[in-house]
């Protein structure tokens, strides 16, 4: 079993094509792994039933070469709609809800031969950075079960880190793919805004949300991204004429690359281990022949303020539909307003309610100009500033998260410190840019630390090329993986 599940997607596809292995065996191996570890890790909200075995068996009649993700098990974050199994967004308000349709990204995965192993845990409606805001369970970090996996795609990150799936879909609104990827020692990527269809992704902040892949290595991420990206007529914000072919790019190395590091990174509060590893990364890439320059970009703290205004404003409207009238949780009452209040009061968790209140406030008459309009202006400035940087540089490099994984419960009572987990990740969302986090090393407590690359709009290929090069330099999987245990 261990041998099967330790194969990368690329290796797995090779084995299928050589006829060495069947999808059914692979799916069984992953199901066993889930059964073995799920009780301790809690990565899933829903684990697919025996239907996946039938799906896997059906693939026997298909030529493995004809499908780009033939027989590849994937886990899907539970804010992405999948027909036939529950979709809860980690919220009590959607408990028992079954979507009558499948999200475009998942549809594309399944059409490409992937098998959906289950729905992964997340912070309720993707609001959080630790997955502790899930209404259903906490997820443990496979590297140390006392620690949080990060969030909001913490279930997906933990599932991939623990070898319960070779890849997973996450969603990234302010860092929700990259931050948990960093904290769990896996690769997580978000594309340019509009590269992956949002149709079927339960909206948190529509103008920032992107679905993206999480996997054990950069190439596997690229494989998934190639399948899920591309224009979708059901999503008017998806880019027209965009198609990615990232998996064929073998990594052109770092030589000659121009890499920018924002000056503000230096002044940011972060763990010593994070700044050590980041500093080391900078000098290593310079040694490899990349040119690193320090650039002035608008303050990272400004971008986080901008993020929490825009995201919460949109969220307050996006989450208005959960009212108990048509589906999901309802608390009956004598009056309509009473039903709304009780349903939403009990159906939503604290963090979600906090953000709905904040978002409602910034859109209210008399405050709209001071908050929303100002944040939009800041967003335009930030976009312009990043645009300028990419005239001179190929990539921007930053840490992914200011700290390695933190202990479960440690930040729950302090939303501001939790919000600051996103300090390095929100700019890519605000500016709509592609970004990737890949594991660079371990802290003294043997917790993974990631490094983040951001590229210009539609420049995913630059991102992947450089990430493949960095990955080779870091040798994270070879050097850092424990010989046995929860992590694969």
């Amino acid at each position: 079993m261990k041998e099967t599940i330790s194969l990368s997607i690329k290796e797995l596809l090779d084995s299928y094509r050589k006829g060495e292995i069947r999808p059914l065996e692979v799916v069984r191996a992953y199901r066993e792994r889930i059964e073995e570890l799920e009780g301790r890790i809690g990565a899933f909200i829903y684990v697919s039933g025996d239907d996946v075995l039938k799906d896997a068996e059906k693939l026997d009649t298909v030529d493995p070469r004809s499908l780009p993700l033939y027989g590849v098990p994937v886990a899907v974050k539970d804010n992405i709609c999948t027909r036939g199994c529950p979709t809860t967004a980690g919220s009590r308000i959607l408990e028992g809800y079954r979507a009558p349709y499948t999200a475009t990204a998942v549809k594309r995965l399944v059409e490409a031969g992937a098998v959906v192993m289950g729905k992964t845990n997340l912070d309720e409606f993707a609001m959080g950075s630790s997955t502790e805001n899930s209404a259903f369970r906490a997820t443990a970090n496979p590297w140390n079960l006392d620690y949080a996996p990060g969030g909001s795609s913490g279930g997906s990150a933990a599932a991939v880190a623990a070898g319960m799936a070779p890849a997973a879909l996450g969603s990234d609104t302010g860092g929700s793919i990259r931050q948990p990827a960093s904290l769990c020692g896996v690769v997580g990527m978000k594309g340019t805004y509009g590269s992956v269809s949002r149709y079927g992704l339960i909206a948190f902040a529509s103008s920032l949300d992107q679905i993206g892949p999480m996997a054990r290595n950069v190439t596997d991420c690229a494989l998934i991204f190639d399948v899920i990206s591309g224009h979708d007529p059901n999503d008017s914000t998806s880019m027209i004429g965009y198609s990615a072919d990232l998996s064929s790019s073998g990594g052109t190395g770092l030589r000659g690359l121009r890499i920018a590091v924002p000056r503000a990174v230096e002044g940011c509060e972060m763990s010593e281990s994070v700044s050590d590893i980041f500093r080391k990364t900078v000098s290593t890439v310079e040694d490899e022949g990349a040119k690193v320059g320090i650039v002035d970009l608008p303050g990272l703290d400004a971008s986080i303020a901008c993020y929490y205004i825009l995201a919460n404003a949109e969220a307050s409207s996006n989450l208005a539909r959960y009212d108990g009238v048509r589906y999901g949780f309802r608390h009956d009452s004598d009056s309509l307003d009473g039903m709304y209040e009780k349903t939403r009061g009990e159906g939503f968790g604290e963090e979600v309610k906090r953000r709905i209140l904040l978002g409602t406030y910034v859109l209210s008459a008399g405050y709209y100009d001071a908050y929303y309009v100002k944040a939009k202006k800041l967003q335009a400035m930030l976009r312009e500033a990043y645009g300028k940087v990419f005239h001179e540089y190929d990539l921007v490099m930053m840490p992914t998260s200011p700290t390695p994984a933190f202990k479960l419960g440690e930040r729950l009572e302090d939303p501001i410190s939790m919000y600051l987990s996103d300090i390095f990740t929100t700019p890519a969302n605000i500016a709509g840019l592609p970004a990737i986090s890949l594991p660079a090393g371990l802290s003294q407590e043997r917790l993974p630390i990631g490094v983040q690359l951001v590229a210009g709009a539609r420049m995913e290929s630059k991102l992947i090329n450089a990430a493949v090069g960095l990955e080779r330099l870091f040798g994270f999987r070879e050097k850092c993986l424990p010989a046995e245990g929860e992590v694969i």
Binding site: I80, C81, T87, A89, L94, Y97, A99, P100, Y101, A103, R198, Y199, G200, L201, I202, A203, A205, S206, S207, P233, N234, D235, S236, T237, A313, E314, S316, S317, A320, R321, Y322, D323, V325, R326, Y327, D334, L336, Y340, T360, L363, S364, A365, Y368, Y372
Partner: protein
């Protein structure tokens, strides 16, 4: 209006009209846009606002809105933007409506009111696109049901400037606007079914003053009559308050058509803060110059222009051209008829009296009328060249509608070919004069109006076939002797 208080008030009225566009599918999804289907059968995840769905703009609806904008002489904005209007109500499944706010599609237009005399126009502030809400069905007991079929049907909201000065003018504006919508074929204008709906803002200002009073809103005005009486009631109500030295409070009233009265819905302190913001699920709406030019070139002649042309080209009165141009189909019918018969005046008389009368009594639309203009023209020609008499023509008309016969065939079958032969009519006249000696005496004493009576008797005796003009001439010459 001179008031006891000595102060004249002038009403300031603005209308917000919602018109359902007759597109094939809904505003943001592919569901059919139809009225009257079984509840909740014309729905999909998108118009039900299920988690994860996204709107896609209906291009046909955009074209129709541009068409309306051009017809109302608006400026069509190259860039407009959808926005979310946030409010909680069970007929609105997302609890926000996708509408337009800061950047509407069309701005600065007008509707012309009078076709003759002093021309008046009412400014159009803006036209924007939005989606309709569902329908609440209040059942017995304390439960209500929701039908989402209507949810997502495209609407244009047409906002007038506060240029309207009376209830009658408001109704006139609405009639004109409806006519244009129907001419363009973008809305059926059916107020009973709710495809055309009207909200009104009313305030009073002192005559001659520029200072506007506090305005109130009236909703649920679902007929032209309701618009007129509703506004009249509100003007009266406000006048009474002001006369007593009171203050107008900003309220929204519902018009109760059954009780013919206003019912207060909400006052300002409960006014919604809709928290509008740009719809992040849709990119800005760009309208290409070429699209505008294409739509402009396909625009039909509009009712106002057509009325003017009918008066000038066909020598019709304002009343005639107004009636004939009220419906595009009727005006088209009339013009075909004139082309085929060559007589605009006769055509107008036939359409106004016979065709429209027949449509009304049959409850029919002109498009369904079985007697084509070409065939009616043949009948008119028969009357004009005196092959048949006018009254016989009307009988033939009804027979043609009933049986689908051609004019010639009906005339032959009914034996209505007019007799103009002098000798034949003379012998009938002789019989009539002989049988009515008292009337003959009175005619000779000066009661010449009796001529019509004698002609009528001749027509009766001839079975409607005698040429009434010839008969009249003969009678007159006989009685002079």
């Amino acid at each position: 209006m001179r008031r006891e208080s000595g102060i004249d008030y002038e009403p300031v009225i603005g209308l917000e009209v919602h018109a359902q566009l007759s597109t094939r599918s809904k505003m943001f999804c592919g569901c059919p846009s139809v009225f009257g289907a079984e509840p909740n059968t014309m729905v999909c995840p998108v118009c039900l606002g299920l988690p994860g769905v996204l709107p896609v703009v209906n291009r046909e609806a955009v074209s129709m809105a541009v068409m309306l904008g051009l017809a109302l002489r608006c400026r069509i904005e190259a860039t407009s933007m959808f926005a979310r209007k946030n409010y909680f109500y069970p007929d609105c499944p997302k609890n926000y409506q996708i509408s337009m706010y800061e950047m509407p599609l069309c701005v600065d237009g007008r509707v012309d009111l009078a076709t003759d005399g002093e021309s008046r126009h009412i400014g159009i502030e803006r036209i924007h696109l939005e989606e309709d809400a569902g329908k609440l069905i209040h059942g017995s007991g304390d439960s209500s049901l929701v039908d989402f079929n209507r949810c997502g049907i495209p609407l244009v909201e047409i906002v007038s400037r506060p240029d309207i000065r009376s209830a009658a003018e408001a109704a006139e504006f609405l009639v004109r606007l409806r006519r244009i919508l129907r001419y363009l074929g973008i809305c059926d204008g059916n107020m009973e079914e709710g495809s055309l709906r009207c909200d009104v803002n009313v305030s009073l200002k002192e005559a001659g003053s520029d200072r506007l009073g506090t305005k109130t809103e009236i909703k649920n005005l679902n007929s032209f009559k309701a618009v007129e009486t509703g506004i009249r009631s509100e003007i009266d109500r406000q006048t009474e308050i002001l006369d007593k030295g009171g203050r107008i409070v900003q309220v929204t009233n519902l018009w109760d058509a059954d009780g013919k009265r206003l019912v207060e819905m909400r006052s300002k302190e409960f006014a919604h803060d809709y928290r509008y913001f740009p719809e992040p699920d849709l990119p800005v709406l760009k309208i290409e110059r070429q699209l505008i030019e294409k739509i402009k070139s396909e625009l039909p002649e509009l009712p106002f222009d057509r009325e003017v042309r009918f008066r000038e080209e066909y020598g019709l009165t304002a009343y005639e051209s107004g009636v004939l141009c009220a419906e595009r189909g009727v005006a088209d019918y009339y013009e075909s008829l004139v082309r085929a018969s060559g007589d605009p005046k006769a055509g107008s008389k036939w359409v106004m009296r016979e065709v429209l009368g027949e449509l009304k009594s049959a409850g029919m639309e002109i498009e369904e009328f079985p007697l084509e203009p070409d065939r009616l023209a043949k009948l008119i020609v028969l009357v004009l060249d005196e092959t048949i008499s006018g009254p016989a023509g009307r009988d033939v008309f009804r027979e043609m509608v009933r049986t689908g016969e051609d004019a010639e065939a009906a005339v032959a079958r009914l034996g209505l070919r007019q007799v103009s032969d002098k000798g034949e009519i003379e012998s009938i006249v002789d019989v009539v004069l002989r049988e009515n000696p008292r009337e003959v005496k009175r005619y000779r004493e000066g009661k010449t109006k009796l001529l019509a009576f004698f002609v009528g008797q001749v027509m009766k005796l001839s079975g409607g076939k005698a040429n009434p003009k010839v008969a009249g001439d003969i009678i007159r010459s006989r009685l002079v002797d």
